[in-house]
Structures are given as C-alpha cells and as structure tokens.
Symmetry: C2
Subunit: 140 residues, 2 copies
Amino acid sequence: MNLDLEKTLEKHNVKPTAMRLLVLQFLLTEKAAMSLTDLENHFDRSDRTTLFRTLKTFAEKEIVHKIDDGTGVTKYALCEEDCHCEIETDLHVHFHCKICNETICFPENKIPYINLPDGFIADDVSLTVTGICNKCNKSL
Amino acid sequence: MNLDLEKTLEKHNVKPTAMRLLVLQFLLTEKAAMSLTDLENHFDRSDRTTLFRTLKTFAEKEIVHKIDDGTGVTKYALCEEDCHCEIETDLHVHFHCKICNETICFPENKIPYINLPDGFIADDVSLTVTGICNKCNKSL
DNA sequence: ATAGGTAATGCAACAGAAGTGCATTATTTT
DNA sequence: AAAATAATGCACTTCTGTTGCATTACCTAT
C-alpha cells in the first residue's frame, strides 16, 4: 500500500516524505476536492505552511490539479492516471454543491472546445457547475 | 447622458445616488471586468465599503454579474440588456489574460449545455478561459 | 416646511486565505 | 562524519471580503 504511494510520488519526481505520503493517502480516500483548510483540520499535528507547500509541489508536479469552484477557496483533487493537465484532452468539468459545499470532479465530462476570437490564445480552461449534488438532492 | 444612467438604475429598482451613478458610468466606459480594488483605486474619495455594497446591490439587481476568473479576485461586469443571469440563456464565456491581468466577457459565446449525472441540479455555470488576449499577443 | 422614518454612506475592525522569510530539522552526498 | 541540499515549522504580512455601528442624506406624511 505505502509502496504504491511512494511509487506515485517518485514517478512525479517528488521525494516521498512522511507528510507527503499522508497527504497523498488522504486525497486518495476522499472523493471530493480538498482545500488547504480541509487538510489543516484533518492533520492536527502538521503546520499549515507545510501542507500549503505540499499541495503546491503536488500541483507543479501534476499529481493534483487546482480547482477554483467559485467559493473563493482553492481546492485540490488528484489527477487521473497519465494526466498532464493539458487543455483539450485532460481538463474536465467540476461540480460545486451549494448545500454540502463539496466540490467533485467529473472526469468523463471533458470541457468542450471554446472558439475564441482572432488573436486570443487559450492556455487553460475552467468550467464549474454550481447547484445541488445527488446526495443533497435525495435529502430534500 | 446622466438621465440614461438614472433610467438604467431605476429600471432595476436601484435608487440613483451620486456614487451609484459614478460607478455605473465607470463600468460603462471600461470594457474589462473590474474588481473592488480597481474601483477603489479609481474613486480615491470613496470608501471601500460603499463600493463593495454598491457592487453587491448591482449584482442582486442584475445590473452587473460577478465573475470568478480564477485569480482569486472577484470581478464585475455590466450585464447585457435584458439579461437575467439565467443559466442556458444568459451565461457566457469569460477570458482572463495572464499577461495584462484583464478579464473580459464574450457575450456571443454562450456556455454550452453540460450533461450532468442523474440527481445533480445545475443552478449556475462558470466557464473561464485563461491565456493571452489579442492585445498582449500583438505586443509579443 | 418640518418631523420622523428609511436608506445610503463612512469609519473601524475582523476573518479567512494565501503567501514569504528565516531558523531549524531531516536527508542525501561526498 | 562533514557539508550541502531539501523539507519543515513558526511568525508574520498582505490582500480580499465582510460586518457592526454611528452618521448623513433622502423621502414621506402631516
């Protein structure tokens, strides 16, 4: 189990420290995207800065992708296998539930091609749907 | 000129105070979306809170729409005539230039329909393209 | 016109997230 | 084991967004 986590980090040229393995494991078990504060609350013993830089490193090495769900709080979710965060191939839709406040990935829902006016170059696209998720919908 | 501005506000049930007219006029002259800080810098004499609440009121009364361009700073742009910020009809693509940091609307580019899994309800959609705008592209 | 009520404004202060600098600890290399 | 490099933890700062409260402007009814 731990060996798999270590391999994952090493594959992305990230040294497998204890903290990084814990964060990676946590992200694996959580289906929803996690904010820095979420991590901070889960890892009582660790410093916010360390978690902040861990997420930053993970994002740079394409282990996680940053998600802006419109709440003003950046969230992070594990990338899919062989994801390189490429526009047109890797970027997918995110859903933010305004009731439970969870943000989840729809990896099957790739973002459609956006036709821009002449002279505009696209590097990145973000598509976030806000509403009510299936779990909260049932509880209504 | 001022009469038009007043009419606009009154049409949306917003009392046309001096500050509100100035903010509306400023938003009309600026093509790019404006942040609270942008307004604050432009109106040296006015308080941040007043501008904040002016924008809040404008957004509630559908005079402007809030834009989350991924920078972490909320920006505001005038709605189009007869916009009711309805999903499927009014929501359009936004573009954020990572060089000049400007965020602009593409009102002709409506956001395509997103097919969600069963049980999910969509209230709002945000689609932001990040890259290089036509002006900055020329200067390269 | 004026008194009373409502709405808008301005000041102060706070909260939360993001980020930086620096000292300390751990890890790797020689 | 010593030196170099990387990771961590603490303190502090900045920026944005927000609220409470007192004051000012505005509108309405008598």
